[in-house]
């Protein structure tokens, strides 16, 4: 929209490598005042790397960055000056603020303390003695309320961050950057963790920030979003900018084509399953934390050849449900029965360890990949091995290696060759962008980390999959692939419990749907019964069912 005006930031021929991996190749682009720029691209394309360079976290190998210091300081353009971005503190001083996907908040601090952290108000600078070291909470709150009103970002400064839902935490992060007077905001996959409602609110915020003259760069894997909110879209592939388009000139399928470089075909084929057998039965399940009921009298069944979607706004007990099912949390009351493969008699999961649950054919894709999924400082091979560490037999089955079977099957030694073979197979199947399997997963891009988890869990061809936000952070190509595989599992007689904040995903995959609200199931709908409006209402109010 502002293509006629002068850019406020200009990137010229920026390259960046990590060892032998070239993350960015001669990238050039500009950011204009008061625009929302969307950056799209596959997993590992280099989006986050580019943003981290703008934020001063990473240093570029070669290339040039120029900023308009005049615009950044008081809004009057002065022309571009070359800068050498070397630390987040320095870029913040210039006026560039970044909100990471992993929030950088102190959980036990209040909203106010978090926002002003590092730039606190003290009682009275001129006073003497202990007065100088006391925080001025009144002034802090005043200032935050002012910002919060100005940008229409309602928060309660005295609330503790740990008690807030994800969407509000993100708001706090944005306020923190605004408080520090950022004029260019960088948001790395801001919508990945949000519910549809929260996404709408975020977009409202972004629009109002744009109105007040700020510029925003954001990354997303959901093509609808840039079409809806961005002024300009840049697509990166394999470290290079491959196209720059304006939303009014494109649609979703064109964008998809640009991102993955080929046509995306949906090959989902939902077979009709005749004989469905009971797979999982949850009976009057209750869970309390510190005497507060989180899950109330949950009651549902999952059958073979079925994908059961769990819809609901995050924080209504879904996370706890998945943790209880895998044995990481202990239910307060209730029964869980599970029929393992070729077994007519159900086993009670209540008393089973996590290990035994996993070994009886349950796969688990956790919601928080960095907490429950991966060990950051382990290599890909080691992280894949996490899923097989007590089941070497299965690992052999997966790579269909019968020769080395005897020698490697037993014993105390880590089967490095086997570990490498399985992980190589997974790297290949999911096109994980990594030079080899010995790379630490902390050095992978977010989406590629997720692919490691999905790959290893589905490689065990589980009988039952508990999948929480399985496609969070993966690109559209991979999402399609994961969807196909979940459907294939279903077609082959496994069951999937799909917990996802992404309504499109739930609706696309589920045979049946339960809606959770405040720890209860407020509705159970078959695929055919679903109406979007009704569903939204159910999710947000718990009412509106039949």
């Amino acid at each position: 929209m502002n293509s006629t005006s002068q850019p406020i930031l200009k990137v010229t021929d920026v390259s960046k490598s990590f060892g032998s991996v070239q993350a960015l190749k001669q990238v050039s682009f500009e950011i204009f005042p008061g625009e929302i720029l969307a950056i799209l691209g596959e997993n590992g394309a280099g989006k986050s790397t580019l943003m981290k360079i703008l934020n001063g976290l990473y240093r570029l190998d070669s290339g040039k960055i120029e900023v308009d210091r005049g615009w950044f300081s008081d809004g009057t353009p002065q022309g571009l000056d070359p800068v050498f971005l070397e630390s987040p503190k320095q870029t913040l001083d210039i006026g560039i603020g970044m909100v990471f996907q992993h929030f950088q908040l102190v959980e036990s601090f209040t909203v106010g303390e978090n926002i002003t952290l590092g730039y606190e108000f003290v009682r009275d600078k001129s006073s003497s003695g202990y007065q100088r070291i006391l925080m001025d909470y009144e002034k802090t709150n005043e200032e935050i309320m002012r910002l919060s009103n100005e940008f229409k970002l309602p928060v309660d400064p005295s609330k503790k961050v740990e008690d807030l839902p994800v969407g509000i935490k993100q708001r706090v992060e944005i306020l923190k950057q605004l408080y520090r007077q950022a004029n260019l905001l960088i948001l790395d996959e801001p919508t990945a963790v949000l519910t549809p409602l929260e996404v709408d609110q975020l977009f409202n915020t972004m629009a109002s920030l744009r109105k007040s003259g700020k510029s925003i760069v954001f990354i997303s894997h959901k093509l609808k979003e840039p079409l809806h909110i961005a002024d300009r879209i840049i697509v990166i592939r394999k470290g290079e900018i491959v196209s720059e388009v304006f939303p009014q000139n494109v649609d979703e399928s064109i964008l998809a084509n640009l991102v993955v470089g080929r046509k995306l075909l949906s090959r989902i084929h939902r077979e009709l399953i005749k004989s469905k057998k009971l797979l999982l039965a949850v009976q009057s399940l209750n869970y309390e934390m510190n005497d507060v009921p989180i899950i109330k009298n949950l009651e549902f069944e999952l059958r073979t050849g079925e994908i059961l979607g769990v819809a609901g706004v995050e924080g209504n007990g879904q996370t706890e449900l998945s943790m209880i099912l895998i044995g990481l949390l202990k239910e307060t009351a209730g029964n869980i029965f599970y029929y393992s493969k070729n077994n007519e008699v159900p086993i009670s999961l209540n008393s089973l360890s996590t290990l035994n649950r996993l070994n009886s054919g349950i796969g688990f894709i956790p919601e928080d990949r960095n907490l429950h999924g991966l060990i950051d400082n382990f290599s890909i091979a080691e992280n894949v091995w996490l899923a097989y560490h007590s089941n070497v037999e299965q690992a052999h089955q997966f790579i269909k290696d019968n020769e080395n079977r005897e020698s490697l099957n037993k014993g105390y030694i880590l089967p490095k060759k086997l570990m490498e073979d399985i992980s190589k197979k997974i790297i290949k199947a999911y096109d994980i962008k990594a030079p080899n399997s010995k790379i630490l997963t902390k050095n992978l891009s977010g989406g590629n980390q997720q692919k490691v988890i999905i790959g290893r869990e589905l490689s065990k061809t589980p009988n039952l999959v508990i999948a929480s936000q399985p496609t969070r952070g993966v690109d559209i190509g991979v999402m399609e692939q994961v969807h196909e595989e979940l459907i294939n599992l279903r077609n082959n007689g496994s069951g999937v419990l799909l917990i996802s904040a992404d309504l499109d995903e739930v609706l696309k995959l589920s045979d049946r749907l339960i809606v959770m609200f405040e720890g209860e199931i407020v509705a159970e709908l078959s695929r055919e019964e679903v109406e979007l409006q009704k569903l939204s209402l159910l999710m947000t109010t718990g009412k509106g069912g039949k």
Binding site: L386, L414, K416
Partner: protein
């Protein structure tokens, strides 16, 4: 497969090179601080004899048999106490109970070899049996003493830092009870007037003989055992399924549990191994000394020093061997200077402490920096390409 094994080997042995780097940097710093110290002393009218410092502090340590044997003698036990700290670290635990585990291991093994076997089972009193069983008893009792805080951590969430500190004090008292008094201690030689505070001499058949009889400090085959154990620990940590689980729990307990690893059990196992290593350090010292018995206080600060050694060795067994011998060097240098120069021994202690401080500081600061600026520095991929 062999090439990949080698590559992993290179990656893991990084510990050595990084430790060398740290030691080098710290030596430079220490040298600088020594210069400062030198001038401060000069202003007080005390001239440090620089040539004597070099002669006794460096030359005689590295280039004489006595000096070298000192490095090995003082460094040896530290390898084990540091390994004890390291394996706990790898499992996400901070074992500062090395002192106590050392005492219990040394005490138990000494009682076994000095009282129990010679008096009750004399027919077993021959080296082939006594040497290994004595070591084993030391390790087992040290292990039990590590198991306790491990168990308390796993089952009752009692933090191991607190429990091991308490257990250290308890260990001192146990030693005091068992060998501290002439009137009530069961394992002292009551026939002698001044025999309290120590066990009787352990049976000759349980002692370890010197590798180089000519050396002044008795460097025994215990050192060989120690180095073997270090290599074994390296293997266990990085090449076995148990080591995999220990590291997994240490790096991210939640992810480990979500993938079916029983972190409680691993915590207990880790602490038990850790205690066994410290206990072994204790009994090996007893078996190696020229007057082989356990006496109260022989542990000195070996258990605590293990923490510093492990830190400098980057919790990597090979790095630890290097760091332990570096500490051995410092100790020997101090002793040399103490006996051969008129430099006040307190001053030498100060210098020794300075070196340790500088060794630990760069590493500590690196930990701190990494913690707070996790994304700040570009992480270079550690292995560039796949050789296969």
């Amino acid at each position: 497969m062999s090439t990949s094994g080698l590559q992993v080997g290179i990656l893991k042995t990084k510990g050595i090179f990084n430790s060398l780097q740290i030691i080098f940097i710290s030596l430079v710093f220490s040298f600088l601080s020594l210069m400062v110290l030198y001038f401060i002393l000069l202003t007080f009218g005390f001239a440090l004899p620089v040539d004597a410092l070099f002669k006794y502090g460096v030359y005689q340590v590295f280039f004489t048999q006595d000096g070298l044997s000192g490095i090995l003698f003082w460094g040896g036990p530290l390898i084990l106490t540091a390994l004890a700290v390291a394996i706990a670290f790898q499992g996400g635990l901070f074992n500062i109970g090395g002192q106590g585990q050392f005492i219990i291991g040394g005490l138990a093994g000494a009682i076994w070899a000095a009282s129990i076997v010679p008096k009750n089972l004399p027919f077993l009193n021959f080296p082939l049996f006594m040497v290994p069983t004595t070591m084993l008893i030391g390790a087992i009792f040290g292990g039990i003493y590590g198991f306790l805080p491990g168990y308390m951590r796993a089952k009752y969430e009692a933090h191991e830092v607190i429990t091991t500190i308490l257990l250290n004090i308890l260990a001192l008292n146990i030693a005091q009870y068992l060998v501290g008094s002439r009137t009530y201690s069961p394992f002292v030689d009551r026939t002698k007037v001044d025999a309290y505070g120590q066990t009787e001499l352990i049976s000759k058949s349980a002692t370890l003989s010197p590798i180089f009889p000519a050396f002044s400090q008795s460097v025994t085959y215990g050192l060989l055992v120690t180095v073997l154990i270090a290599v074994l620990m390296y293997f266990v940590l990085f090449y076995t399924r148990l080591g995999f689980k220990i590291r997994a729990v240490g790096l991210n307990k939640h992810a480990a549990e979500a993938n079916g690893i029983k972190s409680d059990r691993i915590t207990i196992i880790t602490m038990t191994i850790s205690g066994a290593l410290a206990g072994l350090a204790g009994i090996l010292l007893v078996q190696s000394s020229s007057v082989p018995r356990y006496s109260i206080g022989i542990e000195g600060t070996l258990g605590f020093d293990g923490i510093a050694v492990s830190l400098i060795g980057l919790n990597n067994p090979f790095g630890i061997i290097l760091a332990a011998f570096f500490f051995g060097f410092l100790q020997q240098a101090r002793l040399n200077l103490d006996t051969s120069t008129n430099i006040p021994s307190d001053l030498i202690f100060v210098f020794q402490a300075l070196v340790v401080l500088f060794v630990a500081a760069p590493y500590l600061s690196r930990i701190v920096i990494n913690k707070f600026q996790r994304f700040n520095k570009t992480q270079i991929i550690e292995i560039k390409e796949d050789s296969t």
